[in-house]
């Protein structure tokens, strides 16, 4: 815009200049009059002619008067010369140059000039000659009178015309001048407008600049970050308000000082100076433009504090400046420290929690081990029908309790993300029936009725994680019972029309109760960990508050969803949906539990500090036909394992003196007789990390507490050392083969066989007799004596177990403990039948 305008102006100016030069020239020509007063000159020619003519006439009139002649002639000559001079001007002056081209002018002028040239000789002649020729001069002068007149007239008319032309020229010049003035006016207007616009732009820019400057200053002064600007040498140029506050310095007092001396703590100053020097000398930059760095700053009072710094450079008027953005991060650093401490505390808390869980698992599982183990043993004794029912219920409840403990421990698995869902064919009906059976006792104690049913067509066999499903259902049913009194709890299962992504149908389980229900406000939080209902419910029901949290996790892990609907005071319905593929009923599995295929007569070392557990394991092993050697701690276990060869070692983990882990390590690292036999961990510590630890130190298997016969059998079958198949346990607690051999050698085979037959016969007879003891009848007479007698025989034949059993009956009989005797009898009978078998076998 400005350049276009400028260009236009330049063109206009050039035109104006050219034009004005013309006008100026014109004006100059007016100014310098190139003509004298031509009219005067022309008329003067005629005047001078007439004067000359008059002088001539006067001379003619005087005639020959001598005295007067000299004066007259002088006047004549002067007038001639004046006329001559005047005509010379007409002939030579450039003013008349154009006129001289005019015929009307030059012809008469020629006549006049001819007269002058002709008469010069006469005028210059001596007086007497002039006087003598005066008449002819007079005649000649009169002859050119008309010519002089013509010259004058022609000149005047010419100059009149010239004057007109001159006026026109002047008019034209004035016109040009007017145009020029107009153009100049236009140009000036243009220039004015241009200057006005430039001025306005300048003012606008200035205002903008001022505004930007003000804004910048406002930003700088209101910035919460300290802003410090220095020159290339590090001298402070700007120090904003925040910087003043941060460093407790006054901007005026620090301006011009070296920044290092103002804000850098003494111990960092050397580094700072080195950095500045590097930058100035080599242009090396370690901080400039590298984002935020954390450094230490120093306040005016010498306090050193953490500061976050971002340094940028910029060019300002040919020199580099540095702009530092500074932030006092003392508070942040302190906060971070606090957070770190809080986190450390939380971690410690977590660890404490984990430790408690581990401990709890041990403390609860160990006694449970005892209970369930004993229940397991009890199951094999002769029981009445009602006892069997009670036992069954106890076992179910015991297992459920164990699962509760497991559930708590599951939290560890969940937190570690190690929850494994293992799908297997499950009979949903049986599963629900088990739950209802197991819970019927507790339900009945609160007057509740528990039942289950299919809604719609049943899906009996499905692929799912049975134990997990059971855990969820048990939790919900348990809750339903807890929060209901004299009501009903119904478990419903329904196959939904929907399927999941893998086309598995969804099965919905609903646990409905007629209990107190859940307030709407609690519905959202009910699945949270450690959520318990308010105090009043808590008192009524109690609980860890983990159950629903675990249920939620389990359902989610199994790919389902869980929810609850409730109206306070009218019971509630918990539901969850799980995808479950239906599966055909599996082939009837052989009852391995009842038909053990593992070898008997293994010699097993049991390292266990708990006497009850020790006893349970011993009993179970002996019951299975193995010999158990028990020790109370790891140290004894290591010694025993080094001195004797065992087929297997059962190793408790938590023990006094030396724990199971260390004992195992010592056994494996030593060169004792049993350094290479299978070592089975027996522990309530079932956390995955613990199991991993067991295997790391060389354990080969693992059984949880409480130990069940099934577990035991499975472990014994799997862990049997295949490398020593020919080795048969040298001794059995049931029968001592060495004793048999000793007796056979002592009495000879025939006598031995006779004795053996008699012994078997007597024992059979005695037991038959005792078998007749009814449930209410008294003990036979001298039962103690008979038992003692047979016990003695048993000792002779090495029937250790039989002897033990008989001796204990003898004691009971002596004390008339009828009930105890009755309970001991089935075991005795069992021991005898096995002993008998062994003895018969030893005949050959």
């Amino acid at each position: 815009m400005a350049t276009v305008l400028g260009g236009g102006l330049a063109v206009l100016l050039a035109v104006t200049l050219v034009f004005s030069r013309d006008v100026i020239t014109d004006l100059e020509s007016l100014n310098s009059a190139n003509s004298d007063n031509v009219q005067w000159t022309l008329t003067q020619v005629e005047v001078e002619y007439l004067r000359m003519a008059q002088e001539i006439s006067s001379t003619v009139a005087t005639g020959s008067v001598e005295a007067e002649n000299a004066v007259l002639l002088a006047d004549l000559r002067r007038s001639f010369d004046v006329f001559y001079s005047r005509v010379g001007i007409l002939q030579n002056s450039p003013i008349f140059a154009d006129l001289r081209q005019d015929e009307a002018f030059f012809v008469p002028l020629g006549q006049v000039a001819a007269f002058l040239e002709t008469q010069v000789a006469t005028i210059d002649a001596p007086d007497e000659v002039l006087v003598s020729r005066i008449n002819s001069l007079h005649e000649a002068a009169r002859g050119i009178e008309g010519d002089v007149r013509e010259v004058s007239v022609a000149g005047l008319s010419y100059f009149a015309l010239q004057s007109d032309l001159g006026r026109e020229e002047i008019a034209l010049t004035l016109e040009h001048l007017a145009i020029l003035v107009g153009i100049l006016l236009l140009a000036l207007t243009g220039v004015s407008l241009f200057l006005l616009s430039i001025n306005r732009q300048m003012r606008f820019r200035e205002a903008e600049l001022t505004e930007a400057n003000d804004r910048m200053n406002t930003i700088l002064s209101t910035s919460l970050d300290g802003v410090v600007v220095t020159d290339a040498e590090g001298r402070v140029l700007e120090f904003n308000r925040a910087a003043e506050q941060i460093f407790q310095r006054d901007a005026q007092s620090v301006r011009g000082l070296r920044i290092g001396d103002v804000v850098v703590p003494p111990h960092l100053r050397e580094l700072h100076d080195a950095g500045m020097k590097r930058m100035i000398d080599k242009g090396e930059r370690r901080v400039v433009g590298k984002g935020r760095v954390q450094l230490e700053g120093m306040r005016a009072n010498g306090e050193v504090f953490p500061v976050e710094l971002a340094l940028q450079s910029a060019m300002h008027e040919d020199s580099e400046i540095f702009i530092a953005f500074l932030r006092d991060i003392s508070q942040r650093v302190a906060d971070e420290q606090e957070l770190i401490e809080a986190r450390d505390k939380a971690l410690l808390g977590e660890k404490a929690k984990a430790d408690i869980l581990t401990l709890m698992s041990h403390e609860i599982r160990t006694p449970l081990n005892g209970i369930l183990g004993n229940l397991s043993l009890l199951e094999d004794t002769r029981l009445s029908g009602r006892q069997s029912v009670y036992l069954h219920n106890m076992q179910i409840s015991g297992k459920i309790l164990m699962q509760h403990v497991d559930a708590v421990l599951d939290i560890e698995s969940f937190e570690a993300g190690k929850l494994q869902i293992v799908e297997a064919p499950v009979d949903l009906g049986a599963l629900m029936q088990d739950i209802v059976d197991g819970q019927s006792g507790s339900a009945a104690s609160r007057g509740n009725d528990v039942s289950w049913r299919w809604v719609g067509p049943p899906a009996t066999w499905v692929l799912t994680d049975g134990p997990r499903l059971q855990q969820v259902l048990l939790n919900l049913v348990g809750n339903a019972i807890k929060f209901s009194e004299n009501g009903r709890v119904i478990v419903e299962a329904e196959v939904q029309p929907e399927v999941d992504k893998q086309k598995r149908p969804l099965v919905e389980f609903r646990v409905s109760d007629s209990g107190i229900g859940i307030p709407e406000a609690d519905l959202q939080r009910i699945f949270d960990d450690f959520h318990t209902s308010d105090a009043s419910f808590g008192r009524r029901a109690g609980g860890t508050g983990l159950g629903l949290g675990i249920a939620r996790r389990l359902v989610k892990a199994m790919g389902g969803e869980i929810g609850v609907e409730s109206v306070e005071g009218h019971g509630c319905t918990f539901w969850f949906r799980l995808p479950m593929a239906t599966t055909p009923e599996p082939e009837a599995v052989l009852d391995d539990v009842r038909q053990p295929d593992h070898k008997r007569n293994q010699r097993i070392l049991v390292v266990e500090d708990n006497q009850i557990n020790q006893q349970v394991i011993r009993n179970m092993l002996e019951r299975e036909g193995h010999e158990a050697v028990c020790v109370d701690n790891g140290r004894d276990g290591v010694e025993m394992a080094s001195e004797h060869r065992f087929d297997m070692i059962f190793m408790d983990i938590s023990m006094p003196v030396l724990d199971g882990i260390s004992a195992t390590r010592e056994i494996r690292n030593g060169s004792g007789l049993s350094s290479d036999v299978p070592i089975i961990a027996v522990s309530a510590n079932v956390l995955p990390k613990d199991q991993k630890r067991f295997f790391e130190v060389g354990m080969t298997g693992f059984v949880g507490k409480p130990l069940t016969l099934e577990q035991l059998r499975s472990v014994l079958g799997a862990a049997s050392p295949s490398e020593h198949p020919e080795e048969i346990a040298p001794a059995s607690s049931l029968v001592d083969p060495a004793q048999i051999e000793e007796m056979r050698e002592n009495v000879g085979p025939e006598v031995f066989a006779t004795f053996l037959t008699r012994f078997i016969g007597e024992t059979d007879a005695l037991l038959d007799l005792w078998d007749t003891i009814g449930e209410t009848g008294d003990l036979p007479e001298d039962m103690a004596g008979e038992a003692h007698k047979i016990a003695g025989s048993a000792a002779v034949f090495g029937a250790v177990a039989l002897r033990g059993a008989l001796l204990s009956i003898e004691e009971m009989a002596k004390d008339s403990e009828t009930a105890s005797v009755r309970e001991a009898l089935p075991e005795l009978k069992r021991i005898w039948s096995e002993t008998r078998e062994r003895l018969e076998a030893s005949r050959s």
């Binding site: 100014n31 004298d36 007063n37 001559y84 010379g88 002056s93 003013i95």
Partner: protein, 174 residues
């Protein structure tokens, strides 16, 4: 205007010099002409060589100054070289500082020239043109001329009117 101021200053200057110069002139009185008298200056002049005033012949004028103009004129053809006495020099010689000159030609043509209008070098009383004395038939013997080519102000009507030829008398009046 400027010219007038300059002249005024010049006049003032000469005014201050007056007693000294008068004394000097008195010591160096104007001689009487020995040749044909060409110019008679009369009127209010302090230096005289006759009853009526100061009379100059050619030699006296030449002794005063031989200044030259090379210029064209509107009355002659081509470039002319004039030789003469600047009027200012002449007036200085006659100790004239102010007033008006009444210049007259032999045919009684008369013009007025205010002393204030006279520049130091222009006009001058030319006594030779192109190295020759000027005859009466060719605007002689004396001609007041200006250096017309040197300045536009000398090409104006007033300068042309003051360019009086066939000059023979000057009267100084207050």
């Amino acid at each position: 205007m400027k010219r007038r101021v300059t002249s005024f200053i010049a006049a003032g200057f000469f005014g201050l010099m007056l007693p000294l110069t008068t004394e000097a002139q008195a010591a160096d009185a104007l001689p009487k002409p020995t040749g044909v008298p060409l110019l008679e200056v009369s009127g209010d002049i302090k230096v005289k060589n006759g009853v009526r005033g100061a009379v100059f012949d050619l030699q006296m004028l030449r002794d005063l100054a031989e200044h030259e103009y090379v210029t064209t004129t509107i009355w002659t053809e081509g470039v002319q070289t004039f030789t003469g006495v600047p009027l200012a020099v002449l007036l200085d010689r006659l100790d004239v500082e102010d007033g008006t000159l009444m210049a007259k030609a032999i045919n009684d043509y008369a013009i007025e020239i205010p002393v204030a209008d006279i520049d130091p070098k222009a006009p001058m009383v030319a006594y030779m043109m192109n190295g020759k004395e000027m005859s009466r038939r060719d605007k002689g013997p004396l001609w007041i001329v200006f250096p017309y080519d040197s300045d536009a102000k000398y090409r104006a009507e007033i300068a042309y009117a003051r360019s009086i030829w066939q000059l023979d008398r000057i009267a100084v009046v207050q």
